[in-house]
Amino acid sequence: MSIFYFIAFLSILFAVLVITAKNPVHSVLYLILTFFTITIHYILLNAQFLAIVNFIVYMGAIMVLFLFVLMLLNLNVESEPVKSNIVKFAGVIGGCCLLATLFGTLKLAATSSPVVLQDQGLGLVKNLGKVLFKEFLLPFEISSILLLSAMVGAVLLAKRERQPDGKVF
């Protein structure tokens, strides 16, 4: 239990740092740390697969992509466009809607009966593998066509072409 509270504290701390950091790159780095703490939460909940996916896809792929985009955009204080009043107004409305929703939800919140898992090992990679190679074998195999098609297409679109007149574009 004490690990949970420690990790939960860290998640909230990093999440707050994401929105308070002045430098966007720092902000993204804190976001990566937030996702990392969430990965640990998944492991604590015995959800191995979700933890791995969260680690590889969110922390690894998506956040690195974010970082690259930010670095390419070269955002800093001087180049940041001044937001017009309408945008600010829209932001206020959006924020108030979210606040109202949150408030309404909290008012309705009650202690629900805890969901008891039928199978304690539901989130284990072993079980997932068994399902994937038994009931979901066909979709799993057919996904290979999707990946192959995307791969062929990506190469096709990215490759240089040689025109009949010898020009390369």
Partner: protein, 461 residues
């Protein structure tokens, strides 16, 4: 299943043929392979189909009928592709391969028995189409089409997936039979809000894919920007498959809850009909007119789902066949005209009747079929659609649809007038032999179905 295997292995064979520079073998191998796949599909006709692979796929008569029409229309379109792709670039083998990958996705889409298969099928088809839309790399319109299609398509996939998730959340299964049984134990009053939201989100996702208004904004730009042959593939085979998947889901799973979703779909149908037809009136470009007319045809096809009944499958099949064949003619003639005049405006068709009587005749038949004039397949398609709607007492919807059909005659006849009554100095179009074969075959199919619709109208039980 064998059909799917053949169509999945065929593109890999083609990629190898491309690797060894066997350019001339590509088209014959593709067509022979597709004919084998078609034969394997039809040979399953009398087999009593059961769900296979733990209920993932059900290759029943419905699936066989729609697989066959998809394979046939792909063969017709690929037969037009001789020397077409060579002009775009030298990677011809890859183009054939990607088209066949899309066809494999379509086979999955028409034969799924599990929502995960539906999703994978739609994704295989869509990803291949995003690529095909952008194969003219130096053409700005083609780049725009590919990017727009990709962004919009990815967005709509999100809706579809969210819908599938909510339906899984309330019914506890992806299997169509289990979802149907769950829906049977609930009435429109007692159904879970989550399930209801799931159905709505799936309608949004699928309407995006078939290009029904108000989710049609990608259609005109994508259809206009893509290479014409790919547009032909998108507006015929892909649209047919989209409706087959749509109808399979709704007739199998949600038929007992029709009161819930019929009003939504009715509004979508009426908007689709009106938007498609009215916007098509103002088009100057033939290709863009066909794009809007394909939106309006999506509206007619939606009738089968709004007025869900035992004959819905058959009416979608007849309508889709008629629409597919007529569109293939229109796009084939458009490709020839485009090559000569360099643009696709209505003026480019001026004087076609004098110089190329055969082309003029087949295009006229195609336009009459699209407009739904009797003795053509298009009339029979509309007849079955409206008949189904009248049987369900949706008279006012049929009235709106008939008014729209009358409006559509105006823009289809604009082409016929340009062909026969506007004169222009032009050289004769040289149509290669294989194009004439495709055109001739399509016209024969259009007229035969127009006169003897019973040949195909009772296939699906």
């Amino acid at each position: 299943m064998n059909t799917l295997i053949v169509i999945s292995v065929l593109p890999i064979v083609l990629l190898y043929l491309g690797l060894y520079k066997a350019k001339n073998a590509l088209l014959p191998v593709t067509i022979v392979g597709l004919l084998v796949a078609l034969g394997l599909a039809v040979s399953q006709w009398n087999v009593d189909a059961q769900p296979i692979f733990s209920g993932m796929m059900l290759f029943d008569k419905y699936a066989i009928a729609f697989s066959s029409i998809s394979i046939l229309s792909t063969i017709l379109i690929l037969a037009l592709s001789k020397e077409y792709f060579e002009r775009i670039s030298s990677h011809v083998a890859e183009y054939y391969a990607v088209i066949l990958f899309a066809l494999a996705g379509i086979i999955v889409m028409v034969s799924y028995h599990n929502l995960s298969m539906l999703f994978i099928g739609i994704e295989i088809m869509s990803v291949s189409l995003y690529i095909l839309a952008g194969i003219k790399k130096t053409d700005f319109a083609s780049n725009e089409a590919a990017l727009k299609y990709f962004l919009m398509g990815a967005f709509s996939t999100g809706f579809l997936l969210f819908g599938i998730t909510l339906i899984y959340g309330s019914s506890g299964s992806f299997d169509l039979d289990v979802i149907r049984d769950w829906a049977l134990t609930h009435t429109a009053k007692t159904v879970d809000p989550m399930f209801y939201t799931g159905i709505m989100l799936m309608i949004v996702g699928l309407c995006f894919k078939v290009g029904a208004a108000p989710f049609h904004f990608w259609t005109p730009d994508v259809y206009e920007g893509s290479p014409t042959l790919i547009t032909a593939f998108m507006s015929t085979t892909v649209k047919t498959a989209g409706f087959a998947a749509f109808l399979r889901l709704f007739s199998t799973c949600f038929a007992s809850l029709a009161d819930l979703w019929t009003p939504t779909l009715m509004v979508i149908t009426v908007i689709t009909l009106c938007v498609g037809n009215v916007t098509a009136l103002y088009q100057q470009s033939f290709k863009r007119m066909l794009a809007f007319s394909s939106i309006s045809h999506a509206g007619y096809l939606l009738f089968a789902i709004v007025a869900l009944g035992i004959n819905s499958g058959n009416s979608v099949f007849v309508y889709a066949t008629a629409y597919t064949v007529a569109s293939i003619i229109a796009f084939a003639v458009l490709i020839l005209v485009q090559q000569q005049s360099g643009n696709d405006n209505f003026e480019s068709f001026n004087g076609l009747g004098k110089r190329n009587p055969f082309l003029a005749f087949v295009l006229t038949v195609a336009m009459l079929s699209l407009a739904g004039i009797p003795l053509t397949a298009g009339f029979m398609g509309k007849f079955f659609m409206f008949g189904g709607a009248v049987a369900k007492m949706q008279i006012w919807m049929v009235i709106i649809a008939v008014i729209n059909a009358i409006v559509s005659i105006y823009y289809y006849f604009k082409v016929i007038i340009a062909i026969y009554f506007r004169d222009a100095e032009r050289a004769e179009l040289v149509a290669p032999g294989y194009v004439n074969v495709v055109l001739g075959l399509s016209v024969v199919i259009t007229l035969v179905i127009g006169v003897y619709p019973n040949l195909i109208s009772n296939l699906i039980p």
